[in-house]
Symmetry: C2
Subunit: 120 residues, 2 copies
């Protein structure tokens, strides 16, 4: 398989998505832009920890920040998610093959069970 992506960028994107809190932040920003405090309000962790998560999302390029006075308004930028999606998509044949063979197995089993019994 090709290795023509930006490895470091993928590192940052995948590791940014590797945390449930950060995924929840992304989900929150998918609904609407929000300030840091607004986002932090949805979690039990401290404002400071939330701020750090946001910084990681920013470094990964998944979130943009626009400072308006003392408020920092954050918005989702899904561009880098597409890179990650494209990387994973190259493996789609593999999980489809797996499902296909599982399906074939189930079908075989069902056919065997139907020897003498008619259902479904």
């Amino acid at each position: 398989m090709g290795e023509y992506e930006n490895a470091q960028q993928l590192d940052a994107v995948f590791s940014a998505m590797a945390d449930a809190t950060r995924r929840a932040i992304l989900a929150r920003l998918a609904e609407s832009d929000a300030r840091v405090t607004e986002i932090a309000g949805g979690f039990t962790i401290s404002l400071n920890s939330t701020s750090k998560h946001i910084r990681m999302l920013e470094r990964a390029g998944l979130v943009r920040r626009s400072v308006r006075g003392r408020d920092h308004v954050l918005s989702l930028d899904a561009t880098q998610m597409q890179s990650a999606a494209r990387w994973i998509q190259r493996y789609q044949p593999f999980w489809e093959d797996r499902l296909a063979s599982l399906d074939a197995f189930v079908t075989r089993k069902r056919v065997a069970a139907n020897q003498g019994k008619k259902n479904r």
Copy 2:
């Protein structure tokens, strides 16, 4: 956005994919099954480090191992990749919107440039 996935599993899958060496191992296994030493041969890092990477991939469910005597044969299991792909895919509208609005912006700018001298 829904939060009905297994968060811990996604944590493991995404963090497993967040390392270039491990992504290369997955790419290698996409070509064919391989033993630990065969995989390690493709990297400059030690056999031990490779072994650890493989263990992480195993824990994330991305790689399966079948022990044949002293050889451990590894194979790709892309099932968990599909979970990751599904999670990311929910954001597809966002990167498509972004491309669409960028395109609209460029078009607008081009139109403006063609109407004499319009700038900021």
